[in-house]
Amino acid sequence: MAINCVVCIKQVPDTKRITGEAMKEDGTVNRAALPAIFNPEDMNALEAALEVRDRCGGTVSVVTMGPPAACEALREALFRGADRAVLVSDRRAAASDTLATSYILSCAVRKLEGDLVFCGRQAIDGDTAQVGPQLAEKLGLPLVTYVEELMDVADGSIRVRRNVGNGWEVVECSLPALLTVMETANTPRPQAARRIMKYKKARAPMEVAKAAAEALPDAGDDEKAAEADKRLAALAERGLTIDQWSLDDIEADLGWCGRDGSPTKVHRIQSVVLAGGEYHEYPPTDEGVAELIGALIEDHTIG
């Protein structure tokens, strides 16, 4: 029996290379200014979905909420084996916190009609691990978090091992369900050369429109739009379309999206200031070390 999987992915700033300059004054991130990567645990989530397809057949669709640049991540998912990629993009989704994000994703995921929804445990920018569980609640799906192993995928049910912090649990639940996947769950398969060759040309309509406008800088809007349509039709013929949905396409209630739909707001952002206190440096010599130990013994820090 085929199982259709939906994987929610996110393109995130590489948080190992961020400075305070990346923040805008209102406390939200200026994502355009940062190098972006595929969120690591979403890669594990995608791999888990691909494993389910290996075992049971079915399709793997990936969906992301983000600006057009997020198509890079969608293409990467296609390179690794996803069957379908969907971009949910809309300016009115900006500044969404986890509640608004999970609401928007729930509208999109509902349209994709999956039997199994996979999310990475958490994203390396927000680090909240909240979207997966909140998405499950909105979709009314059983939630299994911290999945480390897919043990059995049988007719209409799934058995997984999850990490509970100080140990593990084997849990069974019926489908449809939502799983959040940890980095320890699997080793993502590499990009397949043939798939790269094919899908490197996959594009979302917004990307095509931008390229068409750049190709005809002196043309009028109608001519640019016609060129874009022509290119899109050619892509569609070869199965290279990345679907693109606005908040209207997914019938989202705008009151639950973006800043208006976000109960949590940023009050203040502070750069981390490394505060110095009393500090004594000792040379790395026998004498220096002995002096340090002497001081620690004298004030009874060391018994």
Binding site: V164, T285, L296, I302
Partner: protein, 349 residues
């Protein structure tokens, strides 16, 4: 969500497993007392389970004024469906203004589920909670006495203060050890409120077939001295230096997240925002650069000694003592000096 309720209590979800409370709810009760004191409201502990009524006393001794107790066989083992249902019923009925959860695997499963059902705000992994006022920049509208939810973000390069002024309760999760564990005060009094929440119609979608709990191998929170190694130690074999120094000091062994990820030492030894938060009398950081998430886990140590070849390593900014040098050279010297100091002390008698 509930409307803003200035009389609302400050609640702590009292996570228990097999009839035992973890440290986190007790730590959170201390913080809850502080917040509730500023807000002039009471502290409530929410205790769910089956046959757990005797835990009420411990919760009251650690700061709860009320213990909201819900017992049912369906609550015997945690599941998001049943626990979320009960919490939402209680929140709807009693309208607390704040709900705190431990950022444990259970808490991180439960809190977002409740927040989604209640359509209220939730901030994860807070490193501090304060009461303050928030002004909306565009309108100048001021919201008073909100819970400031403070946490590092974006790789730890910034500290964000988050507020939720209209979609209550204000909810937050906090990791173990972030709030200090205060002693129990058995003279404290409080009330256990037995709440009947209807669970009959609920089907639990998850079946737990097997489980295994491993007792923690090391109690970092109780250690007086900790010797911790980072990526700079270089290998699991070389971590022996850290173990040896710890051995001669009677210290516990810690590791940075990098050291754990690289396999130098087990996860039980991890110090930092995603490991354990510690406050020993002495913390010796060997080959640890001192990223914010690590500092968050040890910067309240009474004394910090940092050993690193890089004089610009951030760890030196929180250290009281520093040695800029190679730990492969410095640790043996430290061991020698400690042993010498011990023998001198013995001789002096």
């Amino acid at each position: 969500m509930i409307d803003v309720n200035r009389e609302g209590e400050v609640w702590v979800f009292a996570e228990q497993e097999d009839g035992k409370l973890g440290d986190v709810p007790l730590e959170l009760l201390g913080k809850a007392r502080e917040l509730a004191g500023t807000l002039s409201v009471a502290v409530g502990a929410v205790l769910l389970g089956d046959g757990v009524a005797d835990l009420g006393g411990e919760l009251i001794a650690h700061g709860a004024d009320k213990v909201y107790l819900v017992q049912d066989p369906l609550l015997g083992h945690y599941q998001a469906t049943s626990y979320c249902h009960v919490l939402c019923e209680l929140i709807g009925q009693y309208r607390p203004q704040v709900c705190l959860y431990g950022a444990t695997p259970l808490g991180r499963d439960l809190a977002p589920t409740v927040a989604s059902r209640m359509k209220c705000g939730l901030t994860a992994d807070c490193t501090d909670l304060q009461i303050g006022d928030h002004e909306i920049p565009s309108s100048g509208e001021v919201h008073r006495n909100l819970m400031f939810q403070i946490r590092p973000a974006f790789g730890g390069n910034i500290i964000a203060t988050i507020v939720n002024f209209d979609r209550w309760p204000q909810m937050a999760t906090v990791r173990e050890g972030v709030m200090p564990l205060t002693d129990a005060d058995p003279s404290r009094t409080g009330e256990v409120v037995e709440c009947g929440v209807e669970l009959g119609g609920l089907t639990l979608p998850l079946k737990v077939l097997d489980s295994h709990r491993r007792p923690k191998r090391v109690n970092l929170k109780a250690a007086r001295i900790i010797v911790a190694g980072g990526a700079g130690v270089g290998s699991r074999e070389n971590f022996k230096l850290v173990w040896d120094l710890a051995g001669c000091l009677g210290a516990a062994v810690g590791g940075s997240r990098a050291a754990v990820d690289l396999g130098f030492v087990e996860h039980d030894h991890q110090v930092g925002q995603t490991g354990t938060t510690v406050r020993p009398a002495l913390y010796i950081a060997c080959g640890i650069s001192g990223a914010v998430q690590h500092r968050a886990g040890m910067e309240e140590s009474a004394k910090i000694l940092a050993i690193n070849t890089d004089p610009a390593a951030p760890i030196f900014s929180v250290a009281h003592y520093g040695i800029v040098g190679d730990l492969n050279d410095v640790i043996p010297k430290l061991i020698k000096a400690v042993r010498h100091g011990a023998s001198v002390a013995e001789a002096a008698g």
